[in-house]
Structure formats: structure tokens, C-alpha cells
């Protein structure tokens, strides 16, 4: 089936099998490898992307379902060509370890900040309920992001 998906402002068109997942489209058709595949069942959040501004686990959606949608992946996240507030907070705190989950955390964190204006502990715990980090025990991530505000 022919689909066209706008990823980070650019249209990608391809003739894909109906069973192709969105994450495979992003990684294999668009060639954007920053979105990772951790569990293929929606339990880990490593493949999180934004669809029309809202977080979605891209392993749970088919590419054909995303036809015509606007998607933001980790490669499209940032601010003025540099890191955004969430990326800066995670970077300066040295909170992350193996980095496999990180892009999912950045994507969801970026949405949570946009939605709430500030990342309180409650916002963090609610927003990241679908993101697994196996290395840090989450506490360093919570500490790094707590109090981050949107700078306009």
C-alpha cells in the first residue's frame, strides 16, 4: 500500500506491506534510527514518537494507520538547532546510562513539558508511566527533570 508520512517536516512516501509497523517505517524506510525498538509490544516506550504533538508508541501502530499524519521523532526534537530544556536537563545531570531508553524519555518529556509548562514530580511520574529505564532506577531522571520549566 502506498503511504506518505510527514516525519520531522519532510514527506516520506513508500509502497509498504499493510503489516509494516510505524517504527519499522521510521527506521527502515525513512532511515531515522534514533527511535529504538525495545519490546515490540508497547511495554517499554523506547519507540515513542509524537503524532500531531501527542506521544505514541510507534511499535503499536501500523505505517498505513499513520498515512498523512505529522510525526516528530527524536531527530526532530530540539530548540533553535540545539537541545531543548529536557535534553539540557538530562545532559547536565549525567542522569542517563546505557541510553537505549533515552530518546523515548526525551520525546515524552518534551511533550509533557509542552503540555504542563513545568515538570513537577507528579507530572514526571504520570508522564513516564509507559517508559522503562532499566539502568538508573528512575530516581536520577526524576531529579534531573524536576522543576524544569518551559523557556519561551
Amino acid at each position: 500500500m502506498k503511504v506518505t508520512i510527514n516525519i520531522n517536516g519532510k514527506d516520506y512516501s513508500a509502497d509498504v506491506e499493510p503489516r509494516m509497523t510505524l517504527v519499522d517505517f521510521i527506521r527502515d524506510v525513512a532511515g531515522l534510527k534514533g527511535t529504538h525498538v525495545g519490546c515490540e509490544t508497547g511495554h517499554c516506550g523506547a519507540c515513542s514518537v509524537l503524532i500531531d504533538g501527542r506521544p505514541v508508541k510507534s511499535c503499536l501502530m501500523l505505517a498505513v494507520q499513520a498515512n498523512g499524519k505529522r510525526i516528530t521523532t527524536i531527530e526532530g526534537i530540539g530548540k533553535d538547532g540545539g537541545p531543548n530544556e529536557v535534553q539540557m536537563a538530562l545532559s547536565s545531570s549525567k542522569a542517563l546510562q546505557c541510553a537505549f531508553c533515552s530518546t523515548g524519555f526525551v520525546v515524552v518529556g518534551t511533550w509533557a513539558l509542552e503540555e504542563n509548562g513545568e515538570l513537577t514530580e507528579d507530572v514526571i511520574k504520570e508522564s513516564f508511566i509507559g517508559n522503562v529505564c532499566r539502568c538508573t532506577g528512575y530516581e536520577p531522571i526524576i531529579k534531573a527533570l524536576r522543576g524544569v520549566r518551559k523557556n519561551d
Partner: protein, 672 residues
């Protein structure tokens, strides 16, 4: 220079799943659908008739097991565990390769599965030609007669756990111009090289192993696995790159799970709380096949059963047994958490039996000087450490306030055996560093930077830690067993000292010239365990019942000796990560099998990994209770949390529910 630690925030890491070489073939593996069966025929794909090789033992162990059955690359004659590779297919299209699995026809006759340790001891042997299911028998310590006024005993067990790094296993193998190039997510490029050479009968010099960005491991990526051999074999046959990425379902079924240990122990003591001795049995379920590490696991657990205590008598019989389950492997702590859980649960039992505070009972049994236990374990001055730690975390104050705090006293024995290698090259205005132990961002770069600043005065932003690679550094060991800060740190330190001498000899004075000097230095030296490497860890926990029924750890305290801390953030992150894993091990995390030997969990959540809502309030303090013998004074930390948290968390829950916890994960049905 973009530091790797910055790349992850922009999605610029390169994990093995991200590698796409031209003409790649995708490998898929057909796995045993039952735990125990006689194979009558396999039609289609590559199977044991094409590749009848066995794996060799590589990875963490320093003890040699003997006479065990090692895992074949493909099931031969029998399927011995659910998930065992039976056949393999490949195609240039990944989706089609998966479809091709359906074309393989396997006929088999089911056999009665041996699932538990009890099954192993009572049912017929799973391996032909064996008389029973016993892999190894061990006796640790000596029999003793003196038994004391009080005896407490218990059957204690820790369920198996799948390591579940967020990145599953994966490999790209490419046989090209007479050399096998391997790109892999691993803890040790040298284990992979040795394992592939051994299994495929190749010369190690013809195998080059490149570690790619590695998304966590926790023990699961230290060994060589069948799929790595299969991918290499196909690449040698087809002369094309072959890629295999493990699915999460495959990880849950076939990646080596850790733990799976049981103990029947008695603790003899006097009414004043002084322990006289510990005796009993320790069993480990090694699964369908063994290696050096799993076959000797009961001996390793028993050797540290006296923990930080001055217990004069110990006599433990250890048994490792085969079952029709996935081969067992290391999981963060690998034997240390088992020993700690066993002895610490008995200490709590003793405290309850004689009506004494559990911390008090523990203090009573600590040596203030050097002590060598009957199992050969040497600890030095543990009493002062734990006395201070209890005060620092406010144990006595909280106790006075009526709060119910579980504590555990532990030791962390780092796996320093074999030492480690490092290479530093000063070129193009930067210092490039390779370690023998493949870093996967337990934040080794932080201690590497610290050491280079310390020894050579090089600014942190001029230092890059690269992935491990046999082409860059021909000798090395691996990262596991809380060893990296000690042995890899020492190797970096010694290589840096060598560079300093070279620079002085050449009259290089400023760091700018040094960083463009083209100088390079390597260091490798074996290491042996020294008591100064063993650190003490005090962990405490407080629990609550959500809605009156659901236990949760609300607060925990860690007071850990880390020697000279090389990086605050790295040490903190290792401890917080370990604590949450250790708590999940008590509450939710387990690889359980049904009666037929099929794993119950099919997803990450069903495996019980911790989510963000389970994180307790943490109070993490690390101190230097003496430097280690390493030149930079570091001790280990990676496994401290998984050693310390389970007994403390189990006690905390026991205190609020009044129900004794002897097995992990706790059984919710009996709790309320």
C-alpha cells in the same frame, strides 16, 4: 567533539539494531515450543545436521566447572528447554525471514519435563548417559559439633530473573576476505572472540569483534550464545553480512536468566545473639545446559554465606542441577545477592526468635578487626562501618519513633580476577581511550575522565571513551561483577602514568602538545582478589501498603563504601539503579514457569520490571571506608544495590504485614 554521553539525547547512538550493511541477510531462529521432547525430524532451514557444534564456556567465571553438558548450537535429538534453537532461516527481507519460520517442519514427541529443583532431584536425568540431574556437588567449610542455645532454620529461595536490558541481544556477523568481523552488543569482545573461535573452530586471529553501542546488559551479554554462532556460520557460507536482533519474547524465553537458587539453612546461636555457626544446603538450577559459572554457582554462593560477620563455623553442601529450563547465567550480582538474602533472612529470624533488635543482633556478630571465615572469606573491620552507618541513616532514631525499618548488612566482592586492559592514544588534540571491559554506559567515561585529569592534567572535554574493539586492544577481559572502576580504572591509571613518563622523557610540558603528540600506551596485568577490594554496604527500607493490600517500598537508604569515588554521578546512578532492581526482585520481578516448563511472562511488564511509579524516596550516601589496593583507591559498586536491597525490602514488608518472607518474589496470595 560530540561526546557519546551527549549523542544519546539526539538519537545519534548506533546500536546493533541500527547497523545496516549492504546485502544484509536477516536471521530468524525457530525455537523449541515445549520444554522437553524427543525430536523425530526437522525439515527445512539450518539445523543440528548442518551445524552440530557446542558452545564453549566464556564470560564471567574464574572457577572451572567440570564434566557438565554445554549447550549445543542447535537442539540435537532432544529439545531440552522451551526456546532452545532448533532451526534457522534467513532472507534479505526481515519480514519474509519471519514468515519462513512457518515453512520448517519439526516433529517431536513430548517428554515429562523437569522444571524445578525438586523435580531435578526426584525425576530421571534429562541428559542421556547421566545417572541423575546433578551437575556439581560442593562442600564448603567443615562439619562442627557446637550448636548453641537457639536454632533457627528456613527454606529460602530466589526465583529466576531475566536480565531484560532495554536493548535485547543482537549481532551483525560479516565474513569478508578471510576474516570474521562481528559487530555486537556485549560486555566483552574477548568472550565473544574466544567463544566464536571455540565453537566454529576458527583461529582467534581471524575474528575481529567490534562492540557497538550497548543498551544495558546486567550479565546477559557476557557469554557467547547459539545465535552468534549461527549468524557467523551463515555469513561464512554466504559471504554476506548476517544480522540477528533478538525479540523481547525470545529474550524472555532464551536469554540466560539469573538467580534460581534455593537454600535450606540452619543458624545456631546463643540467647545473647552471638551466632555459632551456619549449616545446610544450597541449590542452583542451571537449566538444561551448564557452563563454568553456572555449574559452580552453589560453591560461589556458599563461600560468602558468612557475609560481613565473624561466624566461626560453616558447613554448606552445594548442588547445581539440570532442569528443562533455559541455561542459567549471571544477573546483576550473580551469587552475591543470593548469599546476602540467605544469611540476612536468617539474621532477622534469629532476632525475632530471641526478641532482640535485628540491627543489634547483626552488630553483635561483626568483627572489629580482620576475620577469616571458615569458607575462606576475609573481611576487615566491618563493625565500625555498620555502627557508623546505622547512626548516619538515623536507624536508632527512626526505631525510637516506632517506624518499621528493615536493614541488611552486606559485602560486595568484586570480580577483579584476571584484571583488565586499557589503551590511551593522544592524537588530534584529544585523548582516545579503549577499555578491555566493553562499556555500556554504566558511565565509565566519568571515571576515565577523572583519572586522565588527575594523572595527565587533560581536561574532561578532551577525553573520549570509545567502544571496546579487539582491533584496537588485543587483550582484555570484560565488564561485570562490580569490577570496572577497580580494574579498568587501574589499567587507565597505569597507562596514563606510562604516557606521563614518555612525555617527560620527550620534554613535552603542556597538555596541548601532549594531546597532539601521537603517543599511545596500553596496559594489561592480571589481578587477584584482595580484602581491600571488598566493600561493605548497609541498606535499609521502609514499606507501606497501598489501599491496605498492595505492598510498596516507600523509602530506602543506602550507606555504601565505594572506596575513592571517581565520579559522584556515576556512583549514585549505579546505586539507585541497583536498588530499584533489588526492590523489584522482592515485589514483582521473576521468570516463573508453568508445570510444563513454559515461561509465564511473555512481555516486559509481565516479567515484573520496575516502572517509575515504584521508585521509593532514596537516601543514598557513599563513603570511603579506606582505599582499595588499586592505585586510584576505587572499590566496586555496580551490584551493591541488588545485593543490599532484597533482604532489607523483604524485612520491611514483613514488618508491616506480619507475614514471613522466605521466597522471592513474595507471594501476594499469602501476604494479606
Amino acid at each position: 567533539m560530540i561526546d557519546r554521553s551527549e549523542r544519546f539525547l539526539h538519537g545519534e547512538t548506533r546500536f546493533v539494531q541500527d547497523i545496516e550493511l549492504p546485502d544484509t541477510l536477516y536471521l530468524e531462529v525457530l525455537r523449541g515450543p515445549v520444554a522437553h521432547a524427543k525430536i523425530t525430524s526437522v525439515n527445512g532451514g539450518i539445523s543440528a545436521k548442518d551445524l552440530g557444534l557446542k558452545l564453549i564456556s566464556v564470560g564471567e567465571s574464574y572457577r572451572r566447572g567440570s564434566g557438565y553438558q554445554s549447550e549445543p548450537v542447535f537442539a540435537t535429538e532432544k529439545i531440552l528447554y522451551y526456546g532452545e534453537p532448533v532451526a534457522a532461516v534467513y532472507d534479505k527481507d526481515r519480514y519474509r525471514a519471519r514468515d519462513m519460520l512457518e515453512s520448517i517442519d519439526v516433529k517431536y514427541e513430548e517428554l515429562d519435563p523437569v522444571v524445578t529443583i525438586e523435580d531435578a532431584l526426584s525425576k530421571p536425568p534429562i541428559h542421556e548417559g547421566h545417572t541423575d540431574n546433578i551437575v556439581g556437588r560442593f562442600v564448603i567449610g567443615e562439619r562442627f559439633d557446637k550448636k548453641g542455645e537457639v536454632t533457627v532454620e528456613d527454606e529460602l529461595s530466589m526465583e529466576r530473573i531475566v536480565p531484560n536490558p532495554l536493548e535485547t541481544r543482537g549481532i551483525v556477523a560479516w565474513y569478508n576476505s578471510g576474516k570474521l568481523n562481528v559487530f555486537i552488543s556485549t560486555q566483552s569482545v574477548y568472550s565473544i572472540r574466544r567463544g566464536l573461535a571455540g565453537a566454529l573452530k576458527l583461529d582467534e586471529r581471524d575474528i575481529i569483534v567490534h562492540q557497538v553501542d550497548t543498551g544495558g546488559a546486567f550479565g546477559s551479554k557476557s557469554a557467547v550464545y547459539p545465535e552468534y554462532v549461527i549468524a557467523s556460520y551463515i555469513s561464512m557460507k554466504e559471504r554476506k553480512p548476517v544480522k540477528w536482533i533478538e525479540s523481547r519474547q525470545e529474550h524472555l524465553a532464551a536469554t540466560r536468566p539469573g538467580r534460581g537458587a534455593k537454600a535450606n539453612l540452619r543458624l545456631y546461636a546463643n540467647n545473647d545473639g552471638r551466632v555459632i555457626g551456619v549449616e545446610g544446603k544450597v541449590y542452583v538450577n542451571v537449566g538444561a545446559f551448564a557452563d563454568d559459572l553456572s555449574s559452580t554457582a552453589p560453591s560461589w554462593i556458599s563461600s560468602q554465606i558468612t557475609g560481613p560477620y565473624a561466624i566461626e563455623n560453616a558447613y554448606i553442601e552445594g548442588l547445581s542441577v539440570y532442569t528443562n529450563t533455559a541455561p542459567q547465567g549471571p544477573y546483576r550480582g550473580a551469587g552475591r545477592p543470593e548469599a546476602a538474602f540467605f544469611i540476612e533472612r536468617l539474621m532477622d529470624r534469629l532476632a525475632d526468635a530471641i526478641g532482640m533488635d535485628p540491627a543489634e543482633v547483626r552488630l553483635k556478630n561483626l568483627p572489629s578487626g580482620a576475620f577469616r571465615s571458615p569458607t575462606g572469606l576475609e573481611v576487615n573491620g566491618s563493625r565500625e562501618f555498620f555502627e557508623k552507618g546505622l547512626n548516619e541513616i538515623g536507624y536508632w532514631r527512626m526505631k525510637k519513633e516506632g517506624r518499621k525499618i528493615g536493614v541488611s548488612f552486606g559485602i560486595l566482592i568484586p570480580a577483579v580476577y584476571g584484571g583488565e586492559s586499557a589503551k590511551i592514544t593522544l592524537k588530534d588534540g584529544k585523548a582516545s581511550v579503549w577499555l578491555g571491559g566493553a562499556p555500556h554506559w554504566q558511565r565509565q567515561e566519568l571515571f576515565v575522565k577523572h583519572i586522565l585529569k588527575d594523572v595527565l592534567g587533560i581536561d574532561q572535554e578532551k577525553v573520549e571513551l570509545l567502544n571496546s574493539d579487539t582491533a584496537e586492544l588485543n587483550v582484555g577481559i570484560g565488564t561485570w561483577g562490580s569490577r570496572s572502576a577497580i580494574v579498568a580504572g587501574k589499567a587507565v591509571y597505569m597507562a596514563a602514568l606510562k604516557l606521563k613518563e614518555d612525555a617527560e622523557r620527550m620534554g613535552i610540558r603542556d597538555t596541548a602538545s601532549l594531546l597532539n603528540s601521537g603517543l599511545s600506551a596500553e596496559y594489561y596485568e592480571p589481578e587477584n582478589l584482595d580484602p581491600s577490594f571488598i566493600s561493605f554496604i548497609l541498606t535499609a527500607a521502609e514499606a507501606e501498603l497501598i489501599n491496605g493490600i498492595e505492598p510498596r517500598i516507600s523509602r530506602c537508604w543506602a550507606y555504601y563504601d565505594v572506596g575513592e569515588p571517581l565520579s559522584q554521578e556515576a556512583v549514585h546512578g549505579q546505586i539507585s539503579g541497583g536498588l530499584v532492581m533489588g526492590i523489584a526482585e522482592v515485589l514483582t520481578e521473576a521468570l516463573e514457569y508453568d508445570k510444563k516448563g513454559i515461561p509465564v511472562a511473555r512481555t516486559l511488564s509481565e516479567a515484573g520490571v520496575a516502572y517509575i511509579n515504584q521508585v521509593p524516596e532514596m537516601h543514598i550516601t557513599f563513603v570511603s571506608y579506606g582505599r582499595s589496593r588499586a592505585p586510584h583507591g576505587a572499590k566496586g559498586v555496580g551490584e551493591a544495590g541488588t545485593v543490599g536491597a532484597p533482604p532489607a525490602a523483604a524485612r520491611a514488608i514483613e514488618l508491616i504485614t506480619g507475614k514471613r518472607i522466605s521466597r522471592l518474589p513474595l507471594d501476594r496470595a499469602t501476604l494479606i
